[in-house]
Amino acid sequence: MKPKLLLRYSKELILTLAVVFLFTTIILLVTGAPVLAVYYHIFKGSLGSWAKFGHVIKTWIPLTLCACGLLYTFRIGLWNIGVEGQVMMGAIFATAVLRFGVESHFSELYLFLSILAGIAGGAIWALIAGYLKTAGGVNEIFAGLGLNFVAQAIILWLIFGPWKRPGIASMSGTELFPKALWLPSTFLLRISPIGIFSAFAAIILTALMLRYTRIGLCLKAVGNNPKAAYLFGVKPQPYMLLAMIFAGGFSGVAGCLQVTDVYHRLLPAISSNYGYLALLVVMLGNFNVWISPAVAFFFACLNIGSVQLPMMLQLDSSLSGVIQGASVLAALGMQAWRMRIRSNEVGAFYE
């Protein structure tokens, strides 16, 4: 990536964030909320203490993992909306493995296996959508959405059926795993080095894969022009499946970490909508490996920071949702505008 281009993307990003702020401010003014206080609390709620910062990081990790996975599918031109379901499947598979480890003395082994299971779960779920696309011509967006619902239904069924807590089945999920099956975390921030490591590993691996390997090149070629890629000797279908496997695998890790590092059990909202949020993160990050994690961090702050808003300021609890929604809209608006500028510069291509 040329520094000049990176600089330009960063500029665009900063501009976008500025618009997001402006838009949010207007919404706040309209609803009569105290603007400065809201921002202050968001800031304090996310970066105001080490504990809060730890929470932000815990949100950042799965967001970044999903974002990295999505870079593969976006590269080949697939809209992997199913990422949400892939996170859930990763969590389900990981939970399934951990349940065997409850009585065991080899908890590390089971933790390790749970990550592999998470990868498998996410990848299988992604492959289903990929297969429907390549073999049946089913649009990956619809397949993904459908699979998201199915995954959610499976979680509910498990929680209220086979995996229910002894005695009471409730929305609060399965029984808590013993501490031995929690990912070890640092004392101060309460974040797990393994989680951090996997997020950074995902970033670096993705950057290398996309830039320096034949797979990355072929993904790009197929994504930009499948017909021409075929003439160049690249069959589109296998690469589509491969991209889905990567996306599903990374999301599966995110799902697994949600279980082993954050909630320590399976619960209905295990994916916390991070998959959908990651789609947005990647688009805002200009489909760039280095910028997307930064955007993910911003959204992680917003997410954590606005949790306590309703309580602190006696605001309606839907406000944080409204703020996120507003930033999504503002971001998409900026995106559209940016596309326009760019197409004007390059000149729409014909002849």
Binding site: Y212, T213, R214, N344, Y350
Partner: protein, 486 residues
Amino acid sequence: MRVEVHDIHKHYGPVRANDGITLTIEPGRIHGILGENGAGKTTLMKILAGYTRKTSGYLCMDQVPVDYRTPTEASQLGIGMLYQDPLDFPFLSVLENFMIGQAVGLANQKKYYRKKFDSLAADFDFALRPNVQVNRLTIGERQQLEILRLLSLGIQVLILDEPTTGITNVQKDYLFSALKKMTSEGKSIILVSHKLKDVEAVCNQLTVLRRGKVTGEMKAPFDTDILLEMMFGQTPIPFNRCLQESGRTILELDNVSAPGGRSGLSDCNIRIRQGEVVGLAGLEGSGQDVFLRIAAGLLRPAGGSVMLKDKRMNAKDYHCFKHSGVFFQPSSRLEEGLISGCSVTEHFALQSDHKKFVTKWSDATSDAKKKMTEFRIIGRPDSLAESLSGGNQQRLLLSFLPRNPLLLLLENPTRGLDMESSSWVWQHLHKYCSDNTTIVFSSSDLDEIIMAADRVLVFFNGKMIKDTRTCETSSYELGLAIAGKR
């Protein structure tokens, strides 16, 4: 309307696509723009049509400075452009396409537009049926439709970028008489073309561009030698095919039928021998496109057999054909041939011989550099495919040809190339044949077929209706065959 272009610059980074162009287009005239590949013609036209923004300079219309940013604004001022690949909606009818961009409101105004369409079409002698779906039309007919649509939008200045590639001589005559009629109504026409013959036949005035600058102007009657001098700095050498003894049969189609294209292909019996150069003539989509794609394994025949060197290839795909030494190149460069968004280097990396896990970027870059010099492609290794000029895209495609192919299947290999480049390309391709490669190519230019091929096959309505040696025929005879009059 009188259009004045003053000192127009358009820079893409270090590339000066237009470097201070000044010219005047008089009302009621056909103004030709000539120039070698990459001279900046398309760029200038895109600026005039509001498709690209200029870096500096200004435009005047009837002495009034104007500034516009979009094609819509340009058409409101009366400037319209006919794109080489017409931008229509293939699944709508001719009439519906005609109405796009002008019919507003909810009322069904079909009747009104039907009338308008009929009277305009009659004015220009265009035999277009309003209810036919557009994807059943030839390129030439789609062009006619687009001209009618632009005219009914009230266009005063019509820009045509290489309108004569891909249409027949008959359609060209219709086009030219339509253009002349428009000028007699006071409209101005700007015509970009590589075909000197066409330009000389119809233009009142010419401007020659070279490397983004104006290198000469001329009023009719034109002196060809001086024009060539202005375009290239020297007169290009014409290419010619010396007759070759052809070898054994390598490709054999028996009773092959297939759907696809406009007319499909029916009962096709063709034998192609080693070392031959075979030209395919015919109206766009008369079956030659289907034939090439069957011979490449990109389309499956519905019946009959396809033999490649005694091997039955019916159910094989292109990659299998490629393995046996068959190489196909499509005519639609940006749709099928090149990958927009990928740089020249990336194109070379994609097809490098050793498909290792890790891409060797340095090798790919040096490959790209080497080929770009060899094929005289103007641009840099990191230029995106779509940023190259039309002719340079074509050269890039040709630079992908493998070293020792058995059979090259080329769709319009010199489409959009200037005269000098096409003669260079044919010299290059003929070298392949002396190494026993067979070339089968389609072209809409009969003169090119006669000059470059040993043998010509004429297609009409999905059938191969004529198979003759080029030295035994003439472009007049071929022209009749193309129109179905044997």
